[in-house]
Amino acid sequence: MNVRRQDKIATVVLYLISGTIILILAALLLYILAAGLPHVSWHFLTSPARAFEAGGGIGIQLFNSLYLLVLAMLISMPVSLGAGIYLSEYAKKNWRTTFVQTAIEILSSLPSVVVGLFGFLIFVVQFKFGFSILSGALALTFFNLPLLTRNVEESLASVQGSQREAGLALGLSRFETVTRVIVPEALPGITTGMILGAGRVFGEAAALIYTAGQSAPALDFSNWNPFYIASPLNPLRPAETLAVHIWKINSEGIMPDVAAVSAGASAVLVIVVLLFNLSARWFGKWLFKKMTGGD
């Protein structure tokens, strides 16, 4: 058989496969946006939800989602960075390290319901945080840590050994080499991982149903004192996020415009993830240039 023809056929098939992947995503996106965008308006984005009348919005849920995301990332980023550094730079190759890595991967394949219930019993009931942003953020951290740690570890490990040697030869300690040389070098990889993690957090519902709760009490946007109970920044108020809201209204919603609100909220969710993704990608590139002095 003619190898050239074989090569051509294979190339065409590969193009087709890639085209199909893009087609699937495009169809998904178009479907979500076409169903949802007509319902999205400034009013929809800013007004609070209504339990049983038409015309409710998703303002509070949107804010809650973003705030929860920020809190969860603030907690999980340093921890995963530290853990990743330890695994890639300090851990020796022995059974203990294998054990730790296995533990992390098991955590990553846990169904989020289990994480949610665990968070519920520990944070909500045991620590008495109640249904709150804080409980939700901690549960999300559990959920997020393995993914981020693994990503940090892999990004760091992919930095060449010569970079480490160079750092050490200049008289830096191992830790300084890591923070000054290796981490900046691995930053684009780490950022991509963080974006993916953030996307997962933003869309997570099952882990939050029992921790951050399913109610979004009215917020007082004029009072930013975190101790005031209706303040947007209070980490101890219950906070229904956008993904939970979509889940909830589809399960038990009794407002007459359920379908419209759900489609609109899905569209907003996807758009936010999109925006987030693109801006973080750009930010990662910019950071890389800044910290390494050009590529």
Binding site: A51, F52, L71, L74, I75, M77, P78, L81, V124, V125, F129, G130, F131, L134, T179, V183, I209, Y210, G213, Q214, S215, P217, A218, P226, F227, Y228, I229, A230, N234, P235, L236, P238, K248, I249, N250, S251, E252, G253, I254, V258
Partner: protein, 286 residues
């Protein structure tokens, strides 16, 4: 950069610590958890209550009747919402809980519109849900196989429905869905499907079925002519006190019972002409 992150984290942790200490200093709140069927009512009542009483908040969470009863039993929350009697749930010590019946919900069988059946008897319904009848033709409808859609085992709606329709028989294993919205969507979309819903969820996409020529209406529930209905319970551990007590009284007040309940599709407890205990014994209310 790492330093900045660490500083931010440290700040955050101290902030959280401080907040935890001052938790209740600015406002008072209670938490009600449980039945997702009762959630909209408690939420709406809670919202109004907060508007009327500044600085008092009612946190309402779903999670299912089982969660509500477990958590109130464990003392983790202030109110446990349930649409089944505590006595009917395995693993609950009902004696420790105080029952507050706040509303009534009627449940009706619903079918896909193509089925072509508008009236069924209790015996026919039982035959359908136990799997003895498998095609709508046998019941005078279209030639369609019967597709059963159940609620999740243990859910209040299913417990009530099976109590009155199956009367102790075992339901056929079939599809299960854990939310009313999903059930409605599936019945509307699947030819030959039958399931059951609370009255307030019945809309034009599906068809409600009469039983023994009694229509599923609020009036028929009030007199117990329509048998498949259940109380909505708010359980407290021991006698309620403080905000919990005030709030339950508020939910039972005419302001909520007469103005809010009908709009949400519940039946007001004060209008019921009959009373029914756990074992199904019905007495007239004077």
């Amino acid at each position: 950069m790492k330093k900045k992150i660490l500083t931010a984290a440290a700040l955050l942790i101290s902030l959280v610590g401080l907040t935890a200490c001052q938790k209740q200093s600015s406002g008072e709140s209670i938490t009600a958890v449980g039945s997702s069927a009762l959630q909209p009512l408690v939420e709406a009542a809670g919202e109004q209550y907060s508007n009327d009483h500044l600085g008092k908040f009612i946190n309402v969470q779903g999670g299912g009747s089982g969660t509500g009863l477990s958590q109130i039993q464990a003392g983790a929350v202030d109110i446990g919402n349930s649409d089944v009697h505590a006595e009917e749930q395995n693993g609950v010590d009902a004696k420790k809980l105080v029952d507050h019946r706040v509303a009534v919900v009627g449940i009706t069988p619903v079918v896909n519109k193509k089925v072509g059946v508008t009236n069924l008897s209790f015996a026919q319904l039982k035959a359908i849900f136990t799997g003895q009848v498998t095609n709508w033709q046998q019941l005078g409808g279209a030639d369609l196989p019967i597709v059963l859609v159940n609620r999740a085992a243990g859910s209040g709606t299913r417990v009530t429905f099976e109590k009155w329709v199956l009367q102790g028989s075992q339901a056929k294993q079939a599809q299960e869905q854990d939310s009313t919205g999903m059930v409605r969507q599936i019945v509307a979309a699947t030819p030959g499907a039958i399931s059951y819903l609370a009255f307030s969820y019945v809309d034009k996409s599906i068809a409600a079925v009469k039983i023994n020529h009694v229509a599923p209406t609020d009036e028929n529930v009030l007199t117990n002519k329509w048998k498949i209905w259940s109380y909505e319970h708010m359980y407290t551990k021991g006698k309620p006190t403080g905000l919990t007590k005030d709030f339950i009284a508020y939910v039972l007040s005419p302001k909520i019972q007469e103005k809010v309940l009908p709009r949400l599709g519940y039946i007001s407890i004060s209008q019921m002409k009959v009373e029914r205990d756990v074992s199904g014994h019905v007495t007239r209310r004077s």
